[in-house]
Amino acid sequence: MTSSSPRLRHPLNSRITPGERIGSVLLRGVGEKKMLIPGKGTYVRQGNLYSSLLGTLHAQEDTSTASDTTENIERWIISIEPEPKKILSQSSYSANSTTISPKIGDVILGRVTKVIRPTHATVDILAIVSEQPSTSSQPAMTTQPFIQPLHEAYSGTLRTNEIRPNSSLDIEISDCVRPSDILLARIHALGEKDYILSTVEAELGVIKAICESSGREMRAVSWKEMECVSTGVKEARKVAKPRVVKSEE
């Protein structure tokens, strides 16, 4: 089915500002009918298609839905592509980092921002840690980076009963995490507003902490303690078991 693109009020690839009328939803030409489907950056009002973004006009024929009607109605998806912004901005803005957001089941890297003592701690989710490809079933390594930083920090909550495997109520939360700790956690559920995190697995927990007395980085000495490298002061944490990071072949 060879067909010409629909006749719109503006030429294709022309610059469109928000609110401009692009055309009627049902175009009747000579012996043919064309139907316009609102795509990205457009909306329909009173039988007309309008633009809602600043960008260039594109039209693509929709062949996915077979026209089951007897009449030949060509379906065209009209969309507005926003202008290339990255040319002007010279920041390290990567397009794909804006699209990813944490999902349930993901392992994340976060920073503890607040410890509210008996019940929970709030965590800024900074990056998603891709799961290791399983040992034998997938020999081909994925090209995904191991740590995907997020465009902006998402907020998460780590509750007391989701810190250690044998959840008991008498866990003291400040013996597990403290503010400014960097931790690995799994997204357990979606809360009302934020993500509910869990560190019950052995490989999840605090991976980096700063000593309160000296301000130096601490080193894990056991599954529940970390030691300051300079003063030797020990602080209690829920320490993550070191992960076996496979290097790419």
């Binding site: 610059r15 500002t17 928000p18 609110g19 401009e20 009328r21 950056g41 909306y43 009002r45 309008y50 809602s52 973004l53 600043l54 260039t56 926003p82 202008e83 290339p84 912004k85 040319i87 002007l88 901005s89 010279q90 920041s91 390290s92 803005y93 465009h151 902006e152 920090a153 998402y154 907020s155 009302e192 507003k193």
Partner: protein, 293 residues
């Protein structure tokens, strides 16, 4: 009689104090993407997390607008389940008002609160807020220089900044003011008032029942109007004066203001197209990228 002042001569030949004709708007310039987009939301700079910006000057009034978002709502109480929250803050710089050089606090200054509220109402008529539930779009307006009409300039700047940020709008919201006062013995309807004209238009009417300053009992109006010109909708019309002429007198001024909005829209659309043409050339490698100006 004393010698004629400059303004008297101008009014005799039907020109306004800055030399414009009654139906002329001030020189307007628009600059989209005045600030580079940044991703860092954490820093304390007002431009952090900026996803779109615009600098608009209408005559001597200059306004910078920065749009952030759609992003996470900070407080849960502000979150709306079906649409995005639109947060508008208007600030002034210490050097912007010509008279007093105080820094006005945007959270306490009543005029700024009122104008941010008006701006918020006008913009939410156009932004397709339902596309981003549970998130926030924040619009920060900084008045760099104020020669009257900072609300109109702010609306125009906010529209351009939202377009720059790629936030879907039903239509461009364009604002322009119109006013009427008694000048040189005859009523005159003018478009896009500057500070001096606003004072002339509101000074006698807004005096709280005092004696009219201009002499006579003419209706003096200052009417900022925001419209969506392509669909002919008025989204904002703010009239604070008492009119004896009734709805007709108001309608005349409103019509002039809407014509002004149409002119503003043409300028804005031209500025946007011009910038876009440059961007596309740059993408195809036909032009050098000039970052600012």
């Amino acid at each position: 009689m004393t010698s004629l002042r400059r303004t008297d001569i101008l009014s005799l030949i039907h020109l306004r104090s800055d030399g414009r004709r009654p139906n002329e708007i001030r020189h307007m310039s628009c600059h989209l993407g005045a600030l580079p987009p940044t991703t860092d939301c954490g820093s304390a700079l007002p431009t952090s997390g900026c996803s779109g910006s615009a600098l608009v000057s209408m005559g001597l009034t200059q306004v910078l607008c920065v749009v952030r978002g759609p992003c996470d709502v900070g407080r849960r109480s502000e979150e709306l389940p079906d649409r995005a929250t639109l947060e508008v803050t208007m600030r002034t710089t210490p050097f912007s008002p010509p008279g007093d050089r105080r820094v006005t606090n945007p959270s306490t200054d009543r005029r700024l609160i009122e104008q941010s509220h008006l701006l918020q109402t006008a913009l939410s008529a156009s932004i397709l807020l339902h596309l981003f539930p549970k998130s926030k779009i924040s619009v920060a307006v900084m008045v760099l220089a104020d020669d009257g009409g900072r609300l109109e300039a702010s609306i125009n700047a906010a529209t351009l900044a939202l377009m720059d940020a790629g936030i879907p709008l039903k239509d461009m919201v364009c604002a322009c003011s119109a006013g009427r006062w008694n000048a040189g013995g005859s009523d005159e309807i003018v478009v896009d008032l500057n500070r001096r004209e606003i004072q002339a238009a509101t000074g006698s009417a807004g005096g709280g029942g005092g004696a009219p300053g201009g002499g006579g009992t003419s209706d003096t109006i200052y009417l900022p109007v925001a419209t969506m010109p392509q669909r002919g909708t008025v989204v904002l019309a703010q009239c604070e004066s008492r009119l004896s002429g009734g709805a007709e007198a108001f309608g005349e001024v409103l019509e002039v203001a809407m014509k002004g909005c149409q002119m503003v829209m043409e300028i804005m659309a031209a500025a946007v197209r011009e910038r876009g043409a440059g961007l596309w050339k740059a993408k195809e490698g036909k032009a050098d990228v000039i970052l600012v100006d």
